[in-house]
Amino acid sequence: MALPSSVSSGRASARPEGAPRKPWLTYARRDALAGYVFIAPQLIGIVLFVLVPLGLIFYYAFHEWNVLAGTFTFVGLENVDRLFSDPQLAPVLTATGVFSIGLVIFNLSLALLLAVLLNRRWRGVTAFRTIFFSPVVVSLVAWTIVWGFLLQDNGGINGLLAVVGIDGPNWLREGGTAMASVIVVQVFKNVGLNMVLFLAALQGVPRELQEAARVDGASDRTVFTRIVLPLISPTILLTLVITIVGSLQVYAQIAVLTQGGPGISTTVLVYYLVQQAFEFHQFGYGSTLAILLFLIVLVLTVAQWQLRKRWVFYEN
C-alpha cells in the first residue's frame, strides 16, 4: 500500500523561493493523512459491518418481512406489539437471566477458588494451571458434543453414577437439570480464562501487606476479605463484565446441547432470535429481538460504567 508520507522532499523543494506561505502538505498534515490511511480498513469495516447493520435492524423492525413470499411491507409498531404480547418472551428472558446469573456466580467463584489455590510456588502447580486452562483451547463445539454425549440418559455420567448406585436423571431432557447442565458445561469450558486473570491480579497483591496484617492478628479470612479482595476488585469487575456480555452471546452450546429444550426452558434470547429469523424466516420480528438484545447490552455497559466509579477500590 502506498503511503503519502513516502513522497517527502519533492513537494517542499517545489515551493517558490522565499514565498511567505507554508507548503500545504506540512509534516503534520502528511502525518494526519497517514493516520487516516492506517485506520481506514478498521473504520470502513466497522461502518459497513456494524453501524450500517445496526441501523438496518431499526429499519427492518418496522416491517413485516416474509422471506419466502418475498413481501416487505411497512407495519409500524406491529412487531413491538407482538414482542410485548409474545407469550414466549417472559420464559426466554427468564432463561437468559438464569443462565447469565448462574454462569457468572459459578464461573467467578470457581475461578477465584482455583486462582487462590494455585497462587503458590509448590511443585506441580504449573501442571494444574495447564489442566484447568486447557478446555479454553479445545474447540467449543467439540467440547459441547462430548458433554452432550456424557450427559445422555445412558451416557458416561449416569454410567459412572450407576457404578456407585445412583440413578442419574436424563440431564438434558428434564426441565430442572437442562439449564444447570448447560451452565456447568460452559463454566468448565471457560473458567480457565478468568482463573488466569485472577492469578495475575493475586500476584500483584503485595505480600508485605498481607504479612503485616497477619502480624497484627488478622485471620486468613480477614486478610482475604479486607486486603486481597479490595485490591483485586478491578479484575473482578473486568471478569464480571466479560463473563456477563459473553453469557448473553451463547448460541452454539444451546444449539448443540439442548436445542433450546426441553420445552423452551433453555431458549436464551440469542437462540430465540436466530430461531425466529433463520428457522421461521421472521426477519422483521428477528430484528425487533435484536434491538432488545442490543438495549440489554447497552444498559449493562452503562451500568458497569457507573458501578466502576463507586465499587472498584482503585484504578490506574
Binding site: L3, L54, L117, R129, T130, F133, S134, G159, Y251, L293
Partner: protein, 306 residues
C-alpha cells in the same frame, strides 16, 4: 495425553514460614504434611471435569459402536479400532472442511493482526483531527454483539449473492466487530512505546509507514502474539456465522461439520462424532501444551490491559 508442564521454577521448600498468630490451634501449621495432602487432593478432584471430557472423547473415538454405551462404562477401549476415523472422512468431505477451517483461521488471524496493528498504531501515536470521535466509532464494535447484526448482514450478503461462500465470514470477522478488541489491545500496547524511538527514526528520514513497519511492529511481538492467539481461537470456534451463511457440506467449517454426522435414520453416530471432534480439538490442544506459557500470558495480557 500428557499434560505435564515444565517443572515449577522454584522448589517447594518455602523460604521462611510466615508468622502465625497464636490462638488459632485448629488450622494446620504451614509446614504440616496434611496441608499438602489436602491441597493436592482438592486440586486433583477439581481437575476431573476438566480432563475427563477430553479423555472420554479420545477413548470413545477408538471404541467400536458396540462398546460406546457399554455398562459399566469402559474408561479404556477393550477392542480399539480406527473405523470411526475412516468413517469421519467418508461420510463428509472432512478433509475439505478441515482445510476450510484452517485457511479461514489463517486469513482472519493474519488480516486482524495487520489491521489492528495499523489502526492501533494510528490511534496511539499519530495525531489527526477527529481522532477521538473515530476511536469511539471503532469501539462501538466492542459494545454490539455480532448476534445483533446477523440478520441485516445476512440480508446484505444475500443481496450481493455471497451467501453460501466464505466471503461473509472472511470479511466480517477480519474487518468488523471481532477485530476491534485486537485494535484496542494494540493501541494500549503502542501507547507504552517510548516516543524517543520514533523521533530518532524520523530524524533518519523514515516516513510513518517505515516507522510502523520497521520499528513499532518488531517491538510489538508480544502484543501481536496475544492478538494472534485469541483471534485464531475465536475463528476456529465460530459456529453461528457458518451455520447461517453456509449451506453446502464442502464449504462447511469444522464446528459446523461436527454436528452433521448422523446415520441413515438421523441417529447420532457417537464414535464418528468423537473421532471428528478429536481431530478438531487435539492439534490445538497439543500446540497449547507445548506453548502454554505464551498462551496463558498472552491471554492474561489481553484481559489486563483492557
Amino acid at each position: 495425553m500428557r499434560t505435564d508442564a515444565p517443572p515449577a521454577p522454584a522448589p517447594a521448600a518455602a523460604p521462611a514460614p510466615p508468622v502465625v498468630p497464636a490462638g488459632r490451634p485448629r488450622r494446620p501449621a504451614p509446614g504440616s504434611p496434611w496441608r499438602k495432602v489436602f491441597f493436592y487432593g482438592a486440586l486433583s478432584i477439581l481437575a476431573i471435569p476438566f480432563v475427563f471430557p477430553t479423555w472420554w472423547m479420545i477413548t470413545s473415538s477408538l471404541k467400536p459402536v458396540s462398546e460406546i454405551f457399554a455398562f459399566p462404562p469402559s474408561l479404556w477401549p477393550t477392542d480399539p479400532t480406527l473405523d470411526a476415523y475412516v468413517d469421519a472422512f467418508t461420510m463428509q468431505p472432512f478433509a475439505q472442511q478441515y482445510f476450510n477451517s484452517l485457511y479461514i483461521a489463517v486469513f482472519v488471524t493474519v488480516g486482524t493482526m495487520l489491521i489492528s496493528a495499523m489502526a492501533g498504531y494510528a490511534f496511539a501515536r499519530i495525531r489527526f483531527p477527529g481522532q477521538n470521535v473515530l476511536f469511539l466509532v471503532v469501539l462501538t464494535g466492542l459494545l454490539i454483539p455480532s448476534e445483533v447484526t446477523i440478520v441485516p448482514l445476512f440480508q446484505m450478503f444475500n443481496t450481493l449473492g455471497l451467501v453460501n461462500t466464505h466471503w461473509p465470514i472472511l470479511l466480517v470477522t477480519t474487518f468488523g466487530a471481532p477485530s476491534v478488541l485486537a485494535t484496542f489491545i494494540m493501541r494500549q500496547f503502542f501507547l507504552t512505546l517510548p516516543v524517543e524511538l520514533e523521533e530518532a527514526a524520523r530524524l533518519d528520514g523514515l516516513g510513518r509507514w517505515a516507522i510502523w513497519w520497521r520499528i513499532a511492529l518488531p517491538l510489538s511481538r508480544t502484543a501481536l502474539a496475544a492478538v494472534a492467539i485469541f483471534t485464531f481461537l475465536h475463528v476456529w470456534n465460530l459456529y453461528l456465522e457458518p451455520t447461517v451463511y453456509l449451506l453446502s457440506p464442502e464449504l462447511f467449517t469444522l464446528p459446523q461439520a461436527l454436528t452433521r454426522y448422523a446415520d441413515a435414520y438421523g441417529g447420532e453416530m457417537w464414535n464418528v462424532q468423537m473421532a471428528a471432534s478429536t481431530m478438531t480439538a487435539l492439534p490445538v490442544l497439543i500446540v497449547f501444551v507445548f506453548a502454554q506459557k505464551q498462551f496463558v500470558e498472552g491471554l492474561a495480557q489481553t484481559g489486563l490491559k483492557g
